[in-house]
């Protein structure tokens, strides 16, 4: 099986419009890119289009790709920029500040027991999905950039245009909020399974 590096070379040398080598790269990376777009944007409806745009951009930028990093890392950079632009451009969604009491107070945790039981019935992936979707952008985006993408704190700070300490704080709060929700759902599930 060809390496990503070989496929990139093949894609670069292919005549315009011949996407066979690039198709292989898409196949290898599509699930991860799609997951990133899904959780960075917080929008399952837009994730497919975002991921599609990321690969189209990557195709046309391939000539400039010098191979100093892995293809996946390079695509990640395109994806982060694209998804952050999408988030910035999304007017309808309420932007929540990190200091907003709504964030620090974790209002989403105050779900009805029924809602939590419903969450518990879902499989793990669906549970993670729902927990992440319920997090505000200010916590979810840096958390995804760190724990899904594995980006360094400084890189995240540069991308988001906020200070390093603010990024660390957001990620810390994001992780705490995530774990609290997860534990509550687990506890709710145990209570449902053992009603006495």
């Amino acid at each position: 099986m060809k390496s990503d590096q070989d496929l990139v070379l093949d894609a670069k040398n292919a005549p315009a419009g011949d996407t066979r080598a690039f198709d292989q790269l898409v196949l290898r990376h599509q699930e991860r890119v799609l997951a990133n777009c899904r959780y960075l944007s917080g929008s399952p409806e837009d994730a497919q289009d975002l991921a599609q745009d990321v690969f189209v951009k990557a195709y046309f930028a391939l000539k400039r790709f010098e191979g100093r990093s892995a293809f996946g890392t390079w695509v990640q950079r395109i994806k982060i920029n694209h998804c952050l632009n999408f988030l910035r451009g999304r007017k309808s969604r309420r932007q929540v500040d990190i200091e907003d009491p709504a964030v620090t107070g974790e209002p989403e945790l105050r779900q009805s027991p029924g809602a939590e039981r419903e969450l518990d019935r879902a499989d793990d992936r669906e549970r993670i999905r729902r927990i992440l979707d319920a997090l505000p952008d200010t916590l979810r985006v840096p958390l995804i950039m760190r724990d899904l993408d594995g980006m360094a704190y400084q890189e995240i700070a540069d991308e988001l245009g906020v200070g390093l300490s603010a990024v660390k704080m957001r990620i810390k709060r994001g992780r705490e909020a995530y774990r609290r929700r997860f534990e509550r759902i687990e506890a709710s599930g145990r209570a449902t399974a053992n009603p006495e």
Binding site: T19, F60, G150, Y153, R175
Partner: protein
């Protein structure tokens, strides 16, 4: 930005990473690849059209310019030194 980088910051100041997030994957729609290919082909076609239009415009302009210069060159002048 690899797994190495993930572990490079010893004693993560923001707490322990959520391991399951690194494994998240999403299944694309069945026509995901086809849509990407179509989008690429559309953009290539649009770029070709633009190239062709610009080239045609340039060629037309060049044709007019050449004709104009020839017309000026052929025009009889007042009999100056350069009129030989």
């Amino acid at each position: 930005m690899s797994g190495d980088d993930r572990h490079s910051e010893e004693g993560d100041p923001a707490g322990e990473p959520i391991a399951e997030l690194a494994l998240l994957r999403e299944q694309p729609r069945s026509d995901f690849g086809r849509r990407i290919r179509n989008s690429i082909q559309r953009r290539i076609a649009a770029a070709d059209c633009l190239d062709f239009s610009l080239m045609a415009l340039f060629e037309t302009f060049l044709g007019y310019l050449t004709a104009l210069l020839q017309a000026v060159d052929r025009r009889p002048s007042g009999g100056g030194k350069g009129d030989r």
